[in-house]
Symmetry: D4
Subunit: 151 residues, 8 copies
């Protein structure tokens, strides 16, 4: 069976991606992970750094969001499965935006967030095929989905 | 020219929809507006009220989100233009989720939010064709787009 | 808002379609219903009756299924919402087949069946946005979805 | 010519998958097979085992069907050819549901079932490009389709 | 139910279109028919007559085929059902070409031809949902499909 | 037959649109025309006028192009046929951009331009189904395509 | 650059495929060719040989066309470029049918036929990006398209 | 992560492609570049050279544009990212045409042109995710997008 491609979208301030990647590696799964650029400063400044400084913050952000979208849109379309993580902090509208794109593209979607966001995320969760609380549950899902093995 | 259909997604606690609809009517525009159910209580409880009460809040929400999605997904797909409003309060992930769906479906997208959310919404705004601050600007866009008239 | 089109697929031996259509009419909903030909004998024999008798039952059925598919595939694609009913009897694989088509086409799906089929229908139900037990619940969903009113 | 990918959907209680896979291997065909998880207990319980036990059987099944769909939807979309087996027992609505998805996605479809189900499966068979009775016939079709050789 | 649109493609030297249209009218069916321009001379010369005479017959035909395609491609895409007629004479590759387009677009296809062409048309017929011999059979199919009535 | 919708894209400094619309009206054709906003000043300034003045001309243009795209993308997608006019002056990259979108969307395309641009437009013309020199030829094409009448 | 995949559809009684494949090999092109099964007897009988003999020739052909379509539809969808050959004999409606499918799928199409068929094939040729007379011209096109070299 | 494919469309008279390819190689990026045939004479004459000389320049160009489109349409569809360069000279409508196709196909688009064309290119730039002035900026974007590294 061909390699599975999994896009890890959303929150960038905790180690959830590493925990999933390490778990999948430990389980020997044939999965390739992709993600947005997770260096917060680089992600914010990439547009202006490459294309030129802007007087207004709005256009600074606009340039950066454009450059990041070249990466994220491509990786999202290539993915077999999309995992979207909502963390404790920040509004993370881009995570919900990615989830909306994934849903409209028909990608199997897994959300990952603590129960206190359940009500606010009910529309996103409804479009997901699984709602996980911990990265290890995502690993367990991938192990089952890819290899048919339960914990 | 045929009627334009505009879907008004997002925040439900202020009168922005009424201001847009009234403005469009005053301008004599041939526009039909649609929106999610904006009665907050009905929107939260519709699933359980129709399909049966649930012990767990998660499933209560899940049922409701499913019933609401029958409406919102249909109206989103029918729309020529999608307007998504992010308000001052709440996380409004469903608004960003709708924006992501609209983007992936290739729908012209207008966002409506105050400047303090600019940075957090930069990915969503980058996918939009216009970022408005006031409902009256949305009316002005629609008047221009539909009738070719500037204010 | 434009008329909603709802396709009523599945079981043809009880009055569930009439109950939904009557309920929607009583509620004054702007909904147009469509369905396969529900005259069982006509549905079985339409192919051979029009295109010629066959020696083998397999080809008799094949002709009939082709003619019926001209109708059902067209109505399914036109529908905004698809309701699929699984009854107490028969295998009703064509109902599940319609549900699979609806899911792949991204149509909002409502299933309607008694609880004893829950386990056997879990994959179909998972792809649905609502699982109803009684036709009146489907009417209530449509009333909410079309008009935003709860019972 | 590139490897052909064939998804084997449906009944999981007999050895039909093994017979097809062995036959294809014996014929030296360049075919990669995929299938849902065929361990019945794991398939039923994967959702609750990973995501948490549920009080109600309906939600237990719902969780499991979601996790399984991550696998089956991905493999179905990747497949060049879809084979759907209907066995002697059980209602197998998920098999018909997969067939409906395959048909809507334009995948070449082969059904595999005994003649006593012909009438009940006439809509599914009409959408198929071949109706086989024995796994060995599926092997013969694949040998012809992939290598151009007849038995 | 909305009007059905039926595109009548193929042979232009007999009265088969009139027979189908008259039959549908006599049966009171809510069907709108469309077809290519059936004036043979106009169809051949439209390109050169409008866009300029050509020295070479190849480019004369090329211009004409372009102008006709503006009509035929549009009507084919609008159609709910496509009927393709193969007559006794001529090679009628354009009819088979239209059938190929209809098949790839997922349009329900009805072929209409005498049995002597069965072998040569087997690939086209396999993609059709019905193979009729007489225009009156097409009318009977439409009556059944649109109104659920058998002869 | 339903109304034909024709989008008139491109050059805005001569009366070619009026000549086509008048010609179609004189011929009694059931055609509805649409076009971008052809008031040059309004088209350039609509973004800044509605959404706020910008220091840099680049962002002034960017805002305007966004607002115009809400109109043009919608009308292009609705069109049955797209006519793109390249005039004697200016670079008119937006006309070629519209033609590229029309081609990728599978819309029947008619180009309208003088022979001196033939070489520079060869890629665009190759994707078109007709290359006209005068607006009256476009009218003649529409009359033939819609009504089957030659001049 | 990745390998180009070219599907060679149509006439099976002359050596045109071999001439193209040999020419491409001699030119060192990175092209993989695919084609329908070109053994005429096998192609006619594959359905009945595998799935069972039929009393009527129509169903014998129907079975065979179904099995062949599993191969041809898959290869057509995988192809980057489709070449369709129309020979001196037979009606070859299946070649025109394949061309129609290729056109609707947006595949670059090359037709290959002698000038005496130009008028009858004008609709098919109009949808093609090149009309060749000899297999060596197809090789020259592929050499240019793949490697940028002219003869 | 898999190789990124980048299509370099547009102007063929300066060394911008070499500068991008060299910069990507120096940065060690896993990117495969593709482009139209950039030999101007070959590109103009390929059609007539292979398929036969034409009396009229229009058809000479038409043949050439067809053969080139076999290459360009295929490479455009395969690309993850499309870069379109507008130079100082010529009208370069084919560059804008490619940009239009890329936009309609949902491909991330980067434009590359000097500021003096900003106003004329505003519609194309609005559809782009980045507007670069120098080839080295495109390299910097690709380095960030592919590897997450800023200069």
């Amino acid at each position: 069976m061909a390699t599975w491609t999994v896009y890890l979208s959303g929150e960038i301030h905790t180690d959830w991606r590493e925990r999933i990647e390490r778990g999948a590696a430990d389980a020997g799964l044939d999965v390739a992970f992709s993600s947005p650029v997770t260096d917060h400063a680089a992600s914010d400044d990439c547009g202006a750094a490459i294309l030129g400084a802007q007087d207004r913050k709005f256009w600074h952000d606009h340039l950066g969001a454009g450059v990041n979208a070249i990466r994220t849109r491509t990786l999202l379309e290539r993915a077999d499965v999309v995992v979207v993580r909502f963390g404790e902090q920040y509004r993370q509208w881009n995570a919900a935006f990615d989830a909306g794109q994934a849903a409209a593209l028909g990608k199997p979607l897994i959300t990952l967030h603590p129960p206190e966001h359940d009500h606010a995320l009910k529309e996103v969760d409804r479009a997901a095929l699984a709602v996980a609380r911990e990265p290890e549950q995502v690993v367990a899902i991938l192990r089952y989905v890819v290899d048919g093995r339960l914990p």
